[in-house]
């Protein structure tokens, strides 16, 4: 079993015993639920303003899950062991990101369907919304890895990572929201795919660089 597969399996197992997708999906649905509460019962308003907010809920849900990703590894010594592996740290980080996408990203994308419907998105857009969320989650996670690695040594890093990462979440949110309101869907999807690819390719490299420093 390669180090990549071992890391992926372990992270999936740990996230699963830690409650799996239940908590992030619950957070996501909970946050979307707050929107109509805050906006009041005006149906027309919700119809106009609601669907894009699915993206904010999704961004914040993934953020909440990300933050302890490397902090725990640093505190309990697991990071040192990852550095001792013959596999490059970049690969291991990628494996962790992939695990997170499978256990958290994909379920949130799927939960995007009921959430979008609850926020009055047109039903025919739902498949595109789910697809866009799946891509957006990959972009969020790729960027989030860097934020998580940079703040791994900071206690209460939860809000710091948000501050660092949110500016980079802007492009996927802008184009993702375009999908949610049915605006130039195909173009937006291809830009999202680009974001996802870029973040997945560059994120682990920057994150691994930061983690090497954290271990000092």
């Amino acid at each position: 079993m390669s180090a990549f597969v071992a890391t992926f399996k372990r992270d999936v197992a740990l996230m699963w015993t830690g409650g799996g997708a239940l908590a992030p999906v619950g957070y996501f649905l909970g946050a979307t639920m707050l929107v109509p509460l805050a906006m009041g019962p005006d149906r027309a308003l919700l119809e106009a303003a609601g669907p894009p907010l699915v993206w904010i809920a999704a961004a914040l849900a993934v953020l909440a899950t990300l933050e302890r990703l490397f902090q725990a590894d640093l505190e309990d010594g697991s990071l040192e062991q990852m550095l001792l592996s013959p596999a490059p740290l970049e690969m291991l980080v990628l494996a962790k990101g992939l695990a997170m996408w499978c256990v958290v990203g994909l379920p949130i994308a799927l939960a995007g369907a009921p959430a979008a419907i609850a926020l009055q998105a047109p039903i025919e857009l739902v498949p595109a919304i789910v697809l866009s969320l799946a891509l957006g989650m990959a972009a969020f996670i790729g960027v989030g890895l860097v934020g998580a690695a940079l703040t791994a040594g900071v206690k209460r890093g939860g809000v710091l990572i948000a501050l660092i990462v949110l500016p980079f979440f802007a492009p996927p949110i802008i184009f993702g929201s375009a999908v949610a309101v049915g605006d130039a869907v195909a173009a937006a999807l291809s830009i999202l795919a680009g974001c996802a690819l870029g973040a997945t390719a560059l994120g682990p490299i920057a994150a691994a660089g930061a983690l090497r420093l954290q271990a000092e």
Partner: protein, 205 residues
Amino acid sequence: MSGSGPFQDKPSLRVESLTLKRGERILVRDLSFVAAPGAFVEVRGGNGAGKTTLLRALAGFLKPSAGRIVFDGAEEPSLTMHYVGHLNALKGGASVRAHLRYWAGLFGVAERDDEALSRLSLAAQADLPARVLSQGQARRLALSRLVIAKRPVWLLDEPAAALDAQGRAVLAALIEAHRADGGVVVAAVHEALGPAPSQTLTVGV
């Protein structure tokens, strides 16, 4: 090590005029030594003298301020050495056996859970989550990485911490067997581990 014979290539560890700093403090100044195959280097020094700092530098986590650390006759440091530090690197939610499997994958070696469990007397705990292990059991699990990873150079930071008498005897036996196979052991200790060291380094003043 039982069942797998001595190491093919027997690397030795060579340290040349090493200087290490933490913050503004110089902890190790101009240290040089060679640990040949079979060597057991004991690192001594009071609390805060710099033993952990030295071992972490040998493991490659910490960049030296000056000097070099070389593994002679080895392809790659990551295939050559293993480090067991103060932190046990355990995840509370994973079982003892799951840790052993993961490490085998991480270090790119064959799975040998049962051998590791029996060597460290952890068989009864194999399916417990690491969260419920006692301090000494957790330490045994961390030490079992030495059996799993099977690297020729061991860097051990107070390996006997929290071990009972039986645990210390097991550790001593592991070290003896490792030396007999041509391995190198560098261990920071406050009290002798049992096997007579071939060399004692004292850090700090």
